[in-house]
């Protein structure tokens, strides 16, 4: 893993904005869907926008709105929403070694979604310390605003948009796996990492195909970690 500051940028926040653009391909269509579903579930446009602004976590927002519409008890709605988001606890410590002393960082963690984490985990170590805050602010704000804007658009005109451009919502989300592929490709450095990463991808994919998308990320990562340690044990045993 490269931990060196490899290059500096003239305007780091602008670079953060530019590098987060691929996230929009995934965020905007999903946010439009959320806005549409929230309105259909009985929320107003403003309420849907407030939910996207404050909770700002895709899968759990769909669950939140769905459970409310189904009449589930509110305490259960909150518990389930938080349970889905519990995977976020490992994100900030993973990027903490590259964060500077600024007091803005804790507040910026509101923007640390799965996708922003993936981007920041790769890019922050490559940037000089003085540019990391600007870069992260640009990237995280673009992602956040696109999620809020997409929700508003979906709530106001989601039905019309999906009817007029049905393929757009199907094609643009491929920007997300393409981005993650580019971020992960340099990490396939040896057999051990390749097996661990490959098994994480495969398990998460299989779980998602079988309708267990909420458990797919933590379980996929756990299986990958198991694989990582098993390969180490195997090579240690052979060494003896």
């Amino acid at each position: 893993m490269s931990q060196q500051a490899t290059h500096s940028l003239p305007r780091p926040w602008l670079a953060g904005l530019r590098e987060a653009i691929p996230l929009l391909g995934g965020y905007v269509p999903v946010a439009i869907s959320f806005g549409l579903i929230a309105v259909q579930a009985g929320f107003s446009t403003w309420e849907a926008v407030v939910i996207s602004t404050l909770i700002y976590a895709g899968a759990s927002q769909f669950l939140f709105v769905g459970m409310i519409a189904a009449g589930a008890p509110l305490w259960l709605v909150v518990v389930m929403t938080l349970l889905i988001n519990v995977r976020h606890v490992v994100y900030a410590p993973n990027i903490a070694p590259w964060l500077t002393a600024s007091r803005a960082w804790p507040w910026l963690m509101h923007g640390l979604t799965d996708q922003v984490f993936a981007l920041a985990h790769t890019r922050l170590p490559q940037l000089p310390a003085s540019q990391r805050l600007g870069w992260f602010t640009g990237a995280a704000l673009l992602a956040w605003f696109s999620w809020i804007g997409g929700t508003a658009l979906g709530a106001v005109a989601g039905e019309e948009l999906t009817r007029r451009w049905p393929l757009l919502g199907e094609i643009m989300p491929f920007a997300l796996p393409a981005l993650f592929l580019v971020l992960l490709a340099p990490r396939f450095t040896d057999r051990r990492w390749s097996l661990a990463l490959g098994s994480s991808i495969a398990i998460a994919l299989l779980l998602t195909v079988n309708g267990l998308s909420n458990a797919a990320i933590p379980l996929g990562a756990a299986c990958g970690a198991l694989c990582f340690y098993l390969v180490k044990l195997d090579s240690t045993t052979r060494g003896r």
Partner: protein, 113 residues
Amino acid sequence: MSTALWLAVLASSLGTLLMRLLPLLWMRRRLERLDDGDDGFDAMPQWLGILGPLMIAAVLGTSLVPTTVDATSWLATAIGVLATLAAWWRLRSLGWPIAAGVAAYGAVVTLLG
């Protein structure tokens, strides 16, 4: 929305924010305690450093599942992945490989869909 519903939104928001924020404060304290001039990465628990890339891999796995699950979408996904990797192998940059992947995926969906 009723007051109770607003409270549910606020509780979910606050809980999610704390799950993103509190581990950062914990890690910062740990880094300060262990700070002996080494790279901060060395102060990170080993399991945490391993889990980071694996979480990204799992996010990739979930995002590879197409919106509409059928043979055409899976074929488009496979071709999109190959196009992305080929462009990355050649250019080693962030933007163009993504554009190539989306274009390849879109072309297959449009032609065969």
